[in-house]
């Protein structure tokens, strides 16, 4: 420790890019006296500080843990590649930001797992902390390593690296876990015995207590508990009333500019839409809203305690929040007084949202964003994206009349049952929007310049707990071919000069598919990639596709099996032991309906009996239980 109580020496801090990532001391960061606490919980986002600090989930849990007098929750993020190198060279252990003490001294290391491409960074965190990578090799000298977040809904590829996974929303069960930990340490029981007791707490999954058997065709034969009393199924945890739970009134304010440099206000959880490719739409069911009064009370406290100049409303589909007009009316008035900007991501473009955007944003600087995800109406019905061409064109026409000239369109290529005509429909749709502009705005009134349309496509990755979890993914070559079809569809349009096209690369998409639907055998691949030097795979500059292919070969595993293969209806998935409420039967029915191009209505229009009603919360009708 140097003279300022920092873990890293002045020499190291002066030689790395952005030393601010490693010094802590931010406004609202929580410092406690180690004498007063019983449990040190280090919370980790396995990516660089600026990304990790932008994550709302950690802010909520940090606030919750630190509200417990016996617990001190701290933060740690992945050291950037420059510091990573120095730490390895000099054998410097990873440390947490608040206490500036080694992570390994903590009681718990909680890792939030938000995307598959961070898996190698999880190994980086464990390795730099000098914690054994494999859970069964750990002793009481190591922290209990617990994972959570969306990727823990298929934890199997990373199961051997974790002692526990928390399945579901973190607000509900941590107190029980901490109490059990304190009791267990007082009683002097073994780590194994403690983990066995943990498995009795709802929502907590202890991977070491399960055995997986495989069929000759490599699919799963059985997934069974190895000990009496360990539950065969883990039901996700859900907060029933979002008005009666934790929310950070004083989030930590970073010094460096982070991705999310603003107050983030989560207005609701879940989504009524049921797009068939979307994992979040299923995982976070049922839809639950926060009340306007609580939201306003919270947001003003947050603005007062942080001094932020901007607030962002967060949800999967803000237009579906029932009290949005009332919330915005009040928020706009107060924010104008406070000189605070409001940003509204994930808004459906219509008369209401354009009116709001007009009030809170500078039309000349901002763009209007659509996410049709598929180019033709037929394919939008297949993926159950409840957005019609008429919705899009009337939205864009109103935006054009309102003075907007920048438009962004997001699509996915490689959806199940996609044809080349569907892809060509992308260019067609973009051209229609451009044509609207030239029709609606006479030449002498184009004061903001001509229309500019950006079309971006990413490649479809099938995810667990979606209707498309059975679907094959396209091969890389097929993805590239589709991107060319899309480009051809755009360049054949009359207004093609106004349309700019860019596409996401295909390499990471197939590896993402491997990790998303992988089983326990995939852990070896991840470990090998890490041993070959792979970290920051989510960053294209540091991603090496060759490294992944090499590791797959060495392990005798293939993308054919994990990514490109269609699953049969009866196949046991690695994640089948998790119960998210939404039933496998419902999802398979959705897959069948997709094949036939039949849409399913949203949760508000009609209950489709997905199964999430077991949680008896939010939008779900009680009758459906």
């Amino acid at each position: 420790m140097n003279r300022d109580g920092l873990f890293l020496s002045n020499d190291i801090l002066m030689s790395v890019e952005k030393p601010e990532r490693y010094i802590g001391h931010e406004v609202n960061s929580c410092i406690k006296d180690p004498e007063d606490i019983r449990v040190r919980f280090v919370m980790c986002f396995p990516d660089v500080y600026e990304i990790g600090m932008s994550h709302l989930g950690i802010q909520i849990l940090y606030d919750m843990f630190n509200s417990f007098p016996d617990v001190w929750c701290e933060r740690v993020y992945s050291p950037w590649v420059d510091l990573d190198r120095i730490m390895r060279e000099k054998n410097i252990p990873l440390f947490s930001l608040e206490s500036q003490r080694p992570v390994r001294e903590a009681d718990f290391l909680g890792i939030t797992i938000q995307y598959e491409m961070c898996y190698t960074n999880i190994l980086q965190i464990l390795d730099l902390s000098h914690i054994p990578l494999t859970a069964t090799e750990r002793t009481w000298d190591d922290p209990i390593v617990i994972g959570g977040g969306p990727c823990s809904y298929n934890p199997e590829p990373i199961a051997e690296f974790f002692d526990i996974f928390y399945i579901g929303e973190g607000e509900t069960r941590y107190r029980e876990l901490l109490d059990l930990y304190e009791e267990s340490r007082d009683a002097g029981i073994s780590r194994e015995e403690f983990l066995y007791k943990v498995s009795q707490i709802p929502g907590l999954y202890v991977p070491s207590l399960y055995d997986v058997q495989y069929n000759d065709d490599l699919t799963i034969k059985s997934f069974t508990p190895v000990r009496e009393g360990v539950p065969a199924k883990i039901k996700k945890e859900v907060v029933k009333d979002l008005d009666d739970t934790y929310y950070p009134k004083s989030p930590v304010v970073p010094y460096i500019r982070c991705v999310q440099d603003r107050v983030v206000l989560e207005i609701m959880r879940g989504c009524i839409r049921g797009c068939r490719f979307c994992q979040a739409g299923e995982l976070y069911r049922p839809v639950r809203e926060r009340s306007v009064d609580r939201l306003l009370e919270t947001v003003y406290q947050m603005l007062d305690s942080t001094g932020y100049e901007e607030v962002s409303l967060s949800s999967l589909s803000s237009s579906d929040y029932t009290h949005l007009p009332e919330l915005l009316d009040k928020l706009i008035v107060e924010c104008e007084k406070r000189k605070v900007n409001i940003t509204l991501p994930s808004l459906r473009i219509d008369a209401f949202s354009l009116d709001v955007m007009n009030k809170v944003e500078d039309i000349k600087k901002t763009s209007v964003t659509f996410a049709p995800e598929a180019g033709s109406q037929r394919l939008r019905d297949v993926i159950n994206k409840g957005l019609t061409e008429e919705d899009i064109l009337s939205g864009s026409a109103q935006a054009i009349k309102g003075g907007w000239t920048k438009f962004k369109f997001y699509f996915m290529l490689g959806h199940p049952f996609e044809t080349d005509e569907d892809i060509e429909g992308i260019g067609d749709l973009a051209n229609k929007v451009a044509a609207e502009f030239f029709e609606l705005v006479p030449r002498d009134q184009r004061k903001n310049g001509p229309i500019s349309i950006t079309v971006s496509t990413s490649f479809f990755v099938p995810k667990p707990f979606t209707a498309f979890q059975w679907a094959p993914q396209c091969t890389q070559d097929e993805f590239i071919r589709k991107a060319y079809v899309c480009r051809g569809g755009i360049s054949s349009q009359l207004n093609q000069k106004r349309i700019h096209y860019n596409w996401h690369d295909a390499d990471t998409s197939v590896i993402e598919a491997l990790l998303a639907r992988g089983d326990r055998k995939v852990a070896d691949v991840i470990k090998r990639v890490y041993e070959k030097g792979g970290i920051y795979d989510a960053w294209s500059d540091y991603y090496s596709h060759a490294r992944w292919i090499e590791a797959l070969d060495e392990c005798g595993l293939s993308l054919d099996f994990y990514a490109y293969r269609e699953r049969s209806e009866s196949e046991i998935f690695p994640w089948d032991f998790i119960d998210i409420g939404v039933s496998k039967r419902f999802l398979y029915n959705e897959y069948t309906k997709a094949k036939q191009g039949i849409i399913t209505q949203n949760c508000r229009a009609k209950c489709n009996g997905c199964g999430a009603a077991v949680f008896d919360a939010g939008i779900c009708p009680h009758a459906a239980i």
Binding site: M14, S15, E20, Y255, R257, T306, Y308, E309
Partner: protein, 241 residues
């Protein structure tokens, strides 16, 4: 609009925060403190705020300055100082708040010189000159007509005569084993030099090469030049209420 000048410190761990982030820090601290700051017009209004010479990453300071425009015509400087201190991290303390006269130049434009105290980090001091050596070097230096320092950056290199930018340079008289060099040097936007240049030059007189990151530098204050040519602390301009 009334203008005030805030003098603040920057110590400890916070010295690794860059200048732009210190500005962003204050934008938020001012809001937390509820200060009635004036905003520019336009779609994204920003606070009327100017900082004196930026402080390098890794340096500490007792004399940083920020000018603020306020909506109040008769602000209570003590109340502002208290509110800002309450909204601040312990490593940044507000030392004074003064109301500026209308004709005062802003902090950035009027800064002319800075005073520094420089010593060596403990883990590097054995590789650095001791107190007697520093004393001898400073004496040699005082006899020189010029102090030609060869400044190299990534793109350019040029010779600078440091002498014309140094207004005082001496060894601090204290009981410490480690030497502390005090200097007041030019830090105007057009002609500034860095305290490290002077230390390197001093050591070069006896072919001593300072190890990397060995200097522990604290800025003591910043000055403007009065009409008569005297150095006046930026913090002495204006009045408290």
């Amino acid at each position: 609009m009334t203008k005030i000048r805030v003098r603040f410190t920057k110590h400890g761990a916070i010295r690794y925060i860059g200048h732009l982030d210190v500005m962003r820090y204050f934008q938020k601290a001012i809001r937390r403190a509820g200060i009635n700051v004036a905003y520019s017009g336009g779609f994204s209004p920003h606070q009327i705020m100017t900082f004196a010479a930026p402080l390098g990453v890794g340096l500490e300071s007792d004399g940083e300055y920020m000018d603020l425009g306020l909506e109040d015509t008769a602000p209570d400087t003590t109340a502002i100082m208290d509110a800002l201190n309450k909204a601040s991290v312990p490593e940044i303390r507000i030392l004074s708040v003064r109301i500026l006269p209308e004709d005062a130049g802003n902090a950035m434009a009027s800064v002319f010189a800075s005073a520094y105290e420089i010593t060596f980090y403990d883990d590097k001091k054995v590789l650095c000159p001791d107190k007697n050596t520093i004393k001898r070097l400073l004496e040699r230096c005082s006899l020189l007509e010029s102090m030609i320092y060869h400044k190299e950056t990534k793109k350019t290199s040029r010779d600078i005569d440091l002498k014309s930018f140094i207004y005082s340079l001496y060894l601090k008289d204290d009981d410490e084993d480690k030497p502390t060099v005090c200097m007041t040097i030019n830090s105007s936007s057009s002609d500034s030099i860095k305290p490290g240049f002077v230390m390197e030059y001093l050591c070069s007189l006896e072919d001593i090469k300072l190890p990397d990151n060995s200097l522990m530098i604290t800025r003591l204050d910043m000055y403007t030049q009065s009409d008569s040519g005297d150095l006046v602390s930026l913090g002495d301009i204006g009045v408290t209420s």
